[in-house]
Amino acid sequence: METKLKTIKKVKVDHDEHHDEHHDLGFIRKYIFSEDHKIIAKQFLITGIFWAVVGGLFSSLFRVQLGFPDLDLSFLSPIIGNWLTPQGKIDAEVYLALITMHGTIMVFFVLTAGLSGTFSNFLIPLQVGARDMASGFLNMLSYWFFFLSSIVMFISIFVEGGPASGGWTIYPPLSALPQAVSGSGLGMTFWLISMALFIVSALLGALNYITTVINLRTEGMTFFRMPLTIWAFFVTAILGVLSFPVLLSAALLLIMDRSFGTSFYLSDIYIGGEALANEGGSAILFQHLFWFLGHPEVYIVILPALGIASEVIATCSRKPIFGYKFMVYSILAIGGLSFVVWAHHMFISGMNPFLGSVFTVLTLIIAVPSAIKAFNYIATLWRGNIIFTPAMLFSIGLVSTFISGGVTGIFLGNSALDINLHDTYFVVAHFHIVMGVSAFFGLFAGVYHWFPKMFGRMMNNGLGYIHFWITFIGSYLVFFPLHYIGMAGFPRRYYSFSTFQAGNIESFVDLNVFVSYAALITFGAQFILLFNFFYSMFRGKKATKNPWRSNTLEWTTPINPGHGNWVGAIPKVERWAYDYSKTGSKEDFIPQNIPYSRTPESNLPDDDQH
């Protein structure tokens, strides 16, 4: 087996070296239907950026509705005319469609495809020392399925009846019955088709990531020498492979219920003046299936971000990540446990309360490995020599928001407290901070940190700092106040609170206005990043080979690595990725490919174990 693998690798190497000699791939094969993981990563990134802008625009729109319900939006009617009522307000069903698309876009298209798709693709081969993914072809397919899925989802925004509007969780019967809400007509069909394509893309990608990590690590790259980024991407991919098919089956059954008259989820329904024939289905069966994906999904979103933060924090603190092994075990524990906590989204769905107890226990267990990770990040800063690159700032910001959002999970995971908090703005605050903001910060950190490797140029630091501070402060101002609104009993997915009477409603009007201003400013600040990104791509300062003085293998490639990544042989890995500021060493970093024999002054007695 061993030798067989080696021969395969060898053949591949020869093949690639052969490639290097004559670069005659046409433009289309090189940049569009490319099988090169670096190009595919950039494709995911650009598509993700597009979706992030759309998702952000939608949230700005409904934030306007929530903050300024009386505002006349007629001036927008050339663009969104058919979304407005004659009075120039956003239509109530359109509001629901907007939050549904916003949630779907952000969770799946930006923070799953955009984040994992970009960085797993870009970093796995570069950091494990492989010429490319195990299957370049499947990898290419993965992107193009995502592209198709994006097209379908984008078209769905304009179809008759509007896009899906049952919430990103698309609970039936609402999502099954066009009579119930107009978005459950054609829009929902498109949503389901799009998600089916998306799942295919996610599976193709994930299988590739897993295979590459297992099989194509370069010589010496043992599992426990892998950078934490790779561990995070690896476990993320496993979660995806195990959970996305369940969403697919949930969606298939929903399609059957919608189009072929089956009753998987439908029972005892009287709607639109008639009793439907469906009997014996279970509406909460869908919830079980959905959240069996849905919960792992939130870790699919956050683990890569944490992986990126691990790498950036270690590099920029000039210190080894604290407790590497514990970090790995935490990732594994989070991955495993994430499959057995799903029903904490269903405490008051009507399921057996005993199940609620079981899931409370399991949910709060998962808080322990998450806490370990947070503590270890902080310990890494201790006695470091910290360089605040924009990537480092966003990583610190990530740890901050991961903690603020994480602690509110302890409320929501406790079934007794969830009774009153479920589906309120408290939940909106919780998941935006712990998943939305943190994962976005991970994405930002990744972009700032690996931009030089992606484009051979540096991003502008000054703009990076401004972008960070506005975004960081802004995110807290947007999402932290929502906790209070939620505690006061404000339900989420409400188009308007004009008929609402909780406590002193007046003070929440002010708060909602404040939050909306903060949201618009924060969203606006993202254009600083966009400018920086595209400007630096062409005009940025030329990057050096290893601008952050980092240990991992990607920085041993040429500044603009070509197809096959390394010219000549792939470097051999001699040590773990975190020999920063090692005692005795002259430099404050020792890259992974430097053998111990060349660093006798800093070797430790147990070094062969790293």
Partner: protein, 342 residues
Amino acid sequence: MNIILFISAILFFLIVFQLFRSSELLAITDKEKKTSSFNDSLNNLNAIGGIIFLLSLIVGLFWYSIAEYDNYVLPIASEHGYVTERLFWVTTAVTAFVFIVTQIVMFYFAYKYKYNESRKAQFYPENLKLELIWTIIPAIVLTVLIGWGLIVWGEITGPPPEDPEVIEVVGYQFAWASRYPGKDNKLGSYNFKLIDVDNILGVDFTDSASFDDFMPREIHVPKGKPVLFKIRSRDVIHSVYMPYMRSQMNAVPGMPTQFWFVPTKTTEEIREETGNPDFNYEILCNKICGRAHFSMKHTVVVQEEYEYLEWKKSQKPWIERNPEYLSKIQEKNNFQKLSLRD
């Protein structure tokens, strides 16, 4: 006002532009430095920024939480509400402590250990004892919180005490309806196929237990007595949410659910407490259900027990108020009987 906004916007862009330019220039000058485009004073500025952020965060958190306490903490109006509220605030205390301490430590470290050319970071890859400590302590604290939570949860979702007031609550797009069992204390059976414009709950009036059932316009409940809501939905999922009662349960088509609670404050009393003479308890729909989800609510009146009993006595059974419906059914039944005889 607009001018001020305009000027500050321009100033802001000037600052951004200056920073942008200066880092472009810096990038050229510090080519020989160790880390590309590293700038000491900017680095310190970012470290200080962290401290300022930290202080504002903590001050803001305490200021708002204390100043606005009465606004965001709703008065409690159910017995279990007091219990969950205590758990809530203990959890808040624990988590706020962890939150504040970790943020302080993190931003303090970030400030204290900011880059200094003359120093080298300490190679400190692990400390087993430390890690065990911060594995075990959270585990213990969480165990306490869970244990407590589970006991409370068990009580709330357990069987209601002896003979609660049973009320059927039904959600449909986009309103709520209720049904009381009447004198016999038994709700008649129902079937969704019997629903029509008159009989909106699909009550089966061939079941004699239905004869005295009544369906008021508002839900009335007695203070101090357990009330059991039997919850169902006609079309899509809704959720019975009563924030003052700290109560919530989904209404699911095809799967009846239930929730019981003991009201502790009459509507009169809560009006006094909130200082709002028009205040009413409400059931809010808290599961997305379509266009008018946001306005799907229903008044709940909490009364002293004697008032409640009086009110109940004054309510006429539905069938008495809808005699035409009865005759329609009887006709149908007779017809069926006749046709059976044939």
